[in-house]
Each structure stands twice: as C-alpha cells, then as structure tokens.
Amino acid sequence: MIKIQDLTKNFGPKTAVNGISFTVERGEVLGFLGPNGAGKSTTMRMVTGFIPPTSGRIQTGEYDMLAQPIQAKRLIGYLPENAPLYSDMTVHGFLSFAAEARGLRGGERQKAVARAIELCFLERVVHQSIDTLSKGYRHRACFAQAIIHDPPILIMDEPTDGLDPNQKFEMRSLIRRMGEKKTIIFSTHILEEVDAACTRAIVIDHGRIVANGTPAELKRQAEGAGTVLIRVAGLTAAALRQTLDPLAAARKTAIVEETPGGVCARVFPQTKDSDGALARALFEIAVKSSWKLEELHTEEGRLDEVFRAITLSDTAKEGRQ
C-alpha cells in the first residue's frame, strides 16, 4: 500500500532523512521509533506530500506522491505533530471544513462529521471554539479530521501525545482495530505502544533505519532476552551454582539475590533462540532435586533496552567519526 524507496531529505547542509526504504501493506500497523531529531516527522511529512523529498520515491496505493499528489493525498489521513488546528473555528465547523475539503458534500458530509465526533468522543465540545479546548481535546479534534473520510492509509505523528491514560488506551485499541483494514504508520516515544498496537516497528536514528521487525523480533535482540529467572526457597547460592554449572543449555549463572529464605538467579542460555528449552531443563532439575520452586520464567527482553542499545551505539559511532 505504501512503498518508500531511498527517501532522502536535506535541509541545507543537514541531512534529516538519509536513504530510508520500507513498505507497509494493508492490515499492518507500523510503529516509528527513534530519538528526538531522528527524522520521524520529516519522513512522515514527505510521505503525506507536505514537503518534497530531496530524492527518492513514495508510492501510495497505485499513485506516486510526486507525480500524482492529489490522487495520492486522497488516500491518506494525516495527524501532524502537535495537532495543528484552525483556532478561530468551532470543532463542528472545523470538521465540516475537513470533510468538505475531502470532497464530501451534503448528507454524506454530515454523516462523516457525526461519525468522527462519535469515534473521537468529541460530543462534549462540538460547539466549543477550538482555541478554548484542552490539549487532549485538541489532539482528538485533529485526529477526527484525519479519519473523517475513512482513509485507507492513516499516518499519525505521536497520536497519543497529551492524552490522559484512558484516552491513550482508547487510542491504542482504536489504532489496533482500524489497523485490521487499513494501512497505518504512527510514531511514538512510548515503547509500550509498540507492543499494544503495532504489527511491526521501525527504529530510525540519524535519518537511517537501524532496526525493522515485529515487536517480538526486536525484543529478542535485547541483552536479557531468553534468560531464565529462577527463584528457589531453602537453597544457598553455592548449592544452586553447583547443580547448574554442568548444565549444557546454560552459558552462565548470575545470582540476583541471596537471602536466608532462598536464592534468586538469572541463567543465561547457550543460544539466544532456545525457545524455552532452558526453562524446561531447569524445571526437570528442580523436580529431580525436589527444590521448592517459587518462580521460573523466561525473560522476553525489553524494548527500552533494545532501543537504548541500538540508538546509543549509533550515536557513539557518529561521535567518533
């Protein structure tokens, strides 16, 4: 549905986006991650046709954004960063304008406006002037504008910024629901959202893609991914070590804490994708030795760890150059 090839954007001597390529299909929700100034917003602005790329191709649906911008823009709903709005209008007036600009007229337009108001929980402020709205409601009004024409492609720059926890939750489930039938790209700094809403995530740093995969794939890159945490009551650290050291599936054992009541340890697997083999092996040992097992689970790996590892190492590299 969206195909980006070698997208590059220079602002004067500065390269904001540097040769990004990716595709997103219908039914996919793509999360855009990256530190501040990585080039997420710039990429989205190019994909939505707001700024022309220095070089590269943008294919939306069957249209090329640079050759047929009007047809391409019809397919897209866009929520820009910071949710800009015409502050001199009421919410209803603004949404009517957005619908009309999208080519909806008469009854069709009214229906679209009513639907957007309902989906975004805007009933309470329909006739309020936009410059008196709170930040969260401004955000929702701008989001309503993005979905007013039920676009097949939805591009959102930090859609949950400024929303309260309930609204964040609503927004995530809305994204997930809409993602089943649409093509969605959204950027965020909240890593749980990647788990909660995305089918795939791309990490951008310094204008380049540094990681691209499903949330599970990304998490597997974490240092702690695949390690097994084990907690046994009435056992000393030394006894635990002695039992586990000969284990072939384990690379090493690190004691997390030792108390008079027992011991807690992290066991590192020999290979990263052992798929629970290590935990099963540990469980068998525990049964054989009649340990009083309190806890046993395989760590999934944490996204923030991965994020830090990828983007920090990259920053360090840039610094050395």
């Binding site: 700024i51 800009p84 015409y86 209008m89």
Partner: protein, 247 residues
C-alpha cells in the same frame, strides 16, 4: 469544476474565520469611519459644490495602503505559525487552489466594505446629478486597487511567519507602487530623469491606472494591469510557499 469546488471550500472557511474573529468587523468599521472622515472633513465633500465622488475616491489608495496589509498579513503567516499549513497542503487541494481561495475570501471582505459605502452615492444623487458611469468606474478601479494591494500582502505574508514583518514589508511594497505614479513624485523625478524613464516608472504605478478609472475611462489596458499585478503576486506567493516546504 472540482478545483472550483476546492477554491470555494477554502474561501468559505476563510470567511468563517474572518467573521468568527473580530477581523472583519474591525476592518469594515474602521474603513467606513476613516473614509467618511476624509471625504467629508478633509476632502471638503460639500464645499466642492460639485456632484462627484472625487473627494471620496482620492483617499482610497492611502487607506488601502494601511488597511489592506492589515487584513492580508494573516493570510499565510498565521497558517504557518499555527502549523495548519501542514493540514491544508496534505489535503487533496493544490497550493494554487488554496492561494486563490484565501485571496478571494479576503477580497470579498474588501468588496463588502466598499459596498457599504453606497450611501455616499445616494447622497450625491440626492444633491445633484452625478455621472453615474464615472462613479461605477471609480468603484471598479477601487476594487481592483484593493485586490492588487491584497495580492501583494498575500505574497509578503507567505514570506514570514511573523505578522508584523509581513505587514511592514507589505506597506512598503504597496507604497512604492503608489508613489511611483503619484504626481508629486513624478514631478520630482522629472527634474533629473529623462521623461521616458519617468513614464515607464509611472506605468508600473497603481496610481496611474487607478486615476484612469477615476476619470471614468474604462480602458482594458488599466484593467489588464491590475489583473497582471494580482496574477504575478499570487504566483510569487505559490513560489515562496513551495520554497519553504522544500527546505
């Protein structure tokens, strides 16, 4: 047809904005107050003892000089400052349609204020028998002059996201277009420049063409001049907008 619909959508939103904020009302009231003051108090409308609107139309360029940039300065600076330009230009609307739509809406406000001066026409009709053709020409000229100044404001407002800067640049640009053909200035120029140069400069002035309308001459040459000024300025607006999107 579709592009006409888009222009109309933009223009409607703009008009909505003008009347939702005090901009339109303030402009209309100030325009009417000032034009009344100059026509009757300074221009000596009654003392002239003639049934014409010369003392009315002669003030229009000077009022437009300050009032039109005040309306036009927000056209694009406001859009850039609020970031709504990002919404506008990612809708299936061309930049050109947006520029024309916004321009037409602001021009409609100016036209409306001009329309509200009609009582002054009724007054001269009541007092004597004026040349209605000349008065009609005067109004056409005035509307075109307002449009020309507005298109220049549109251009300067695209240059800066600061409205004050855009206002000042616009006033200066309009002023030079007015002064280039203003008799006191042309007389001064004649003393040291060759006549043909003065002629050429004056031909670029809105005053020369505005005066032709005031004399009751409806010449296509003057008409085309104003249309060209507007087309050029609006085209430049689109170039500037494309320029800062390109970064």
């Amino acid at each position: 047809m579709n592009s006409f619909g888009n222009i109309l959508t933009i223009a409607k939103r703009e008009l909505n904005g003008y009347f939702a904020s005090p901009v339109a009302y303030v402009f209309i009231v100030i325009f009417l107050l000032l034009i009344g003051f100059f026509t009757f108090m300074v221009g000596g409308f009654f003392d002239r003892g003639e049934a014409s609107l010369v003392s009315f139309f002669m003030w229009h360029p000077w009022l437009y000089l300050f009032l039109v940039p005040a309306v036009g300065m927000r056209l694009w600076s406001e859009e850039r400052r609020q970031g709504t330009i990002e919404l506008l230009l990612t809708m299936p609307i061309t930049a050109w349609q947006a520029i024309v739509g916004k321009f037409l809406a602001a021009w409609a406000i100016l036209a409306l204020s001009l329309l509200l001066t009609l009582p002054i026409v009724l007054t001269v009709r009541y007092l004597g028998s004026p040349d209605m053709g000349a008065i009609f020409c005067g109004y056409v000229g005035s509307l075109l002059l307002a449009g020309a100044c507005l298109s220049i404001s549109s251009m300067t407002s695209a240059m800066s996201r600061n409205q004050v800067v855009s206002f000042i640049v616009s006033v200066v640009a309009c002023l030079s277009l007015i002064l280039a053909g203003w008799p006191p200035v042309t007389k001064m120029l004649e003393q040291w420049a060759s006549p043909w140069l003065v002629e050429a400069v004056a031909a670029f002035s809105v005053m020369t063409h505005f005066d032709a309308f005031q004399r009751g001459v409806l010449d296509s040459k003057d008409f085309i001049f104003f249309v060209l000024v507007m087309a050029f300025s609006l085209f430049t607006t689109s170039v500037i907008i494309r320029g800062h999107r390109a970064g």
